[in-house]
Structure formats: C-alpha cells, structure tokens
Amino acid sequence: MPALEFDINKIRSDFPTLNQTVNNQPLVYLDSGATTQKPQCVIDTTVDFYTTKNANVHRGRHFLSENATLLYEDVRTQTADYFGVQSKEIVWTKGATESINLIANGIKNQIKTGDTIIITPVEHHANIVPWQVLAQQAGAKLAIMPLNEDGTFNITRCCEFIEKNKPKLIAITHASNALGNITDLSPLITCAKATGSLVLIDGAQSSMHLRPNLKALNCDFYVFSAHKMLGPTGLGGLYGRYELLNSLTPYQTGGEMIQTVTMTHSTYRDAPAKFESGTPNIAGVLGFGAALNYLTQLNYDEIIKHEQNIFKYAAEKLKKIDGITVYSDLNNNIGTLCFNYKDEHPYDLATLLDGYGVAIRAGHHCTQPLMAHLGLNGTLRASFAFYNNCDDVDKFINALRECIALLD
C-alpha cells in the first residue's frame, strides 16, 4: 500500500482522546513515553472482536475459533515483518516488563556461577531488577556499564568495558525512557558479539519511534510493549533469535504450551507456544494488529521528520526559559525532554501544568539509579509523539511560564 501523505490535522482527528478538554482546557498530551494514545481503528478493532469475533484461539474446531486463531496468528506475522524477523521468533507477553522477566527466568539454566551480566545506569527498573534477581539466584556478577556524567554513553569506553568483563549477557536500552537519549547500539553489539556475549535490547521506547530491523541490528533479544506503539494496554512481546529462544525454559506452565501431559511428566511444545500458556490477550493482539497497520501506512520518514521538528521546536523554547535545566541529549533523541526548573520539585510544576490541561510526567521515571547518577531526586518529562503539533508545544511553554510565575 502506498504511504499516505502526512497530514497532522487528519492524524490528530484519528485519535479521539486528543480531542477533549481537561480542567476546562484543551488537552495537551505530552506523556507518550508512558503510553501512547490509540487511533480509532485500534479501538474499533478491539470492540469488533468482542462484538462479532470472540472465541478462544488454538482450540475449538468451530468457525469462530478458527477465524480468531487466523487473525491472531496474522498479527504475529505482521509484528515479525515490522521488526524484520520470523513469526516464530515473536512471543506475546503482557508487556516489556514481563518479556524481560520471561527471558531472565528462562535463561537461568544457562548462567553459571561467576558469569557476568552487564546492565547500565540508564535502564528502567524493569531492565535492572530481573537481572539482580537472576544474578543472585545463579551466583552471577552484575557489572555496570560506564556512563558519562551527562547520562550519555562513551561507546569506546563501553566497548573496552565489554571486552574486559567478557559478559554472558548485556541488557541495554535502545532509548532511555527518562531522557529519550538513543543508544548507539551497532558498535556495542558488534563488540558484544566479538566477545561472545548475548545482547538483550529494551525496546519499550524505541519500537515505535525508531522502527528497528532486528536482524540488521543483530541483537539476540528485543522486548517491547504494545501500548507504547498505539496498541492496547496489557500486551507486549519479545523477539528472540530462534534457536536461543527455543533453548529457554518456560517461565509459566499450564495449558496451551504442552505437547503431552501425564500425571507425572509433561513435554513442551516449541517456541513460541511453550512461552504462551493459558488464554492469551486475543483482543489486545488484534488491536495491536490495527495499530501496526496504522503505523506502517504512514510514511516513516515524514513521521520522524515531524516528530523531530516538534521536539527541536519545544527544546529551543524550553531552553529560553530562565532557570530551566534540560538533561536530555538533544542531538540524539526519540522526542523526550527531561528537565527541571531551578530546584523546584517536579511534582509541583506537573500539578500546576495539569491545571492548564498539560499532561506531563514528574518523578524518577522508574530510573532511580539514573537519577542518582545525575544527582537528582526527579525531573519533569515531556515526551512527544508524531500526533503532537506546534500548538501543543506553544500551549505547553505558555503554561509552563505561567506555572513558574505562580511559584516565584
């Protein structure tokens, strides 16, 4: 299908949530890093599933079940195509957090006492805690990747660190959820592969903004959340290089994932089925299919150009306000502005901004180690998506100026 022309007004009209007032003000939604808004087609697909198509998948030999199974598996293929991998390499989970837990648990048998796992200080807690637990249980060591004072990576230093530590696995984010900074993964993965390390990429923030081709990226695992890429909440997934994926032990057991069950012994099916016990989030998967359709019908180059324009426009305006400190790397970013005003608590400004209908996040963003590294208790975070426009930026900046006046 030819890509549709980029028309921001048309796009905004596709997202019903954007067209409302909050606290008697038009909503300015700048919290897409937490979750993206959903286009009408995603909502319609979910409603349509429950209205006319509802049946369980992979079991009934009746029309509705077979139809639901076909639609459900089609979305797995669609997701695999989106990421440039094979369908059988995609596992559905309830989100990126569960995906990391599934991998950390599944790989436990392959981690030996004394092995090293590298994580980084910019990670979301979801890409830290499961590795701490694994290291504890397997007797492995955690090594923390060096990070520049400003929260960016020095790739040369990182590669040296990888070579020195010879890790079994490196878990690293593609884009920081707090700062929006994009990690220059290619050289890191090359270096990791040369030392024989596996690489897991946290793609929660990058999956929509960067549309990575995972075969080209050459990572071993990649995790994502559907709701951060226009899809429904409660769904996510992971990519695993097939042989490796199939070598993991299941994290949850039960129906759907078994080959045979006797009272004393069971055998499992191959991946991805062995990781998908129980009835899956069928409506979520179909809704996610609609989200991917919507995303891929838009011209990626135009989306990115627009997102970056909005981001740069906002960054310029924000920096002009006296007393504002921006922590994000503005040259290499998915569209997230992480900032503070003087030593004011982010909670106060976010609360006041809400009065102006501006939705932004305040706090540590589930990245306490990064906040500690930057010497902060928390920040404000405005995260943009392609459905934001210049008007959003103007309203945000004007509101912020008024909020600051209220504080001073």
């Binding site: 004011e344 608590h345 982010p346 909670y347 106060d348 006041l352 009065g355 540590h364 209220l406 504080l407």
Partner: protein, 138 residues
C-alpha cells in the same frame, strides 16, 4: 474542626481562580514551621510516591489532644499537609474520628488531591492521623 482551620481555609474558599487557590495553598505551606533536618528520617516518611512527607503524630496526655507536625519537599503537598494539620491538630481522639477530611477537601474543591492516583501521600497522611486517634480511643 478547629477555628484555625476556618481561618486558613477562608483564603482558599475566596480564591477567584484555580491558580489563586494553588497560590494560597502554597502560601499556607510556607506557614508551617520548618522540620529540622535531623527529624527528616526515613521512619517518619509517609508512604507516598513522588513526593516526600515526614510526619510525627503524637498524643498529648495532659491536653488529651493530638499533636501533629510534618513537612514535605513539595510546595503543594506541604500546603495540603498544613490544611490537614489545621483540621486535626489539638482535637481529642474522639473529635478526630468525627472530622471527615474528605468532606472538607470536597468543600474546598480539592478532593482530587486525595485520590489514590495522585501518589502524593495526602491520603496516607489522613489515614495515619485517623489510626493514631483510633488507637487512643480503644
């Protein structure tokens, strides 16, 4: 409810805009005596999420009254804390149990600050005071 509470809430009730209301709340927070740093201990933290609230709830036997002191690292929560302190400080445990902070916050148009999604711990502040009062009436 104490007379102090009526005095401090007048300015909030009379605020003509929501901005003015927040300004009054933040000004109210500034009237709270500063909690010395040595009292800002983890044990005194009220479980909240994004803001820190330190609070001590004591019982004055001779006066048969609750004595609450506290502080917060945010201006708005500190103001809300001041409101709650004005509402409950000096009351007997029996009186504390009868005073409904939700009702008062509703009247002031501030009820959303007591919602669990705020993660500001204001709800927990009220609960901590109520629990103390209940223990004293047992």
């Amino acid at each position: 409810m104490t007379n102090t509470f009526n005095q401090v809430t007048d300015s909030i009730k009379n605020a003509s805009t929501w901005q003015q209301k927040y300004r009054e709340i933040m000004l109210l927070g500034k009237t709270l005596p500063l909690l010395p740093d040595e009292l800002k201990i983890d044990d005194a933290l009220v479980p909240g999420c994004e803001s820190k609230v330190w609070m001590f709830v004591e019982f004055d036997l001779t006066e048969n009254a609750l004595v609450v002191i506290g502080d917060s690292d945010t201006r708005i929560v500190k103001g809300l804390l001041a409101l709650i302190l004005a509402l409950y400080n000096g009351l007997t445990p029996e009186q504390v149990i009868k005073v409904d902070a939700y009702e008062e916050f509703e009247k002031l148009g501030l009820i959303s600050h007591l919602s669990p999604s705020r993660g500001n711990g204001v709800k927990a502040i009220v609960e901590k005071i109520k629990i103390m009062a209940q223990q004293k009436t047992l």
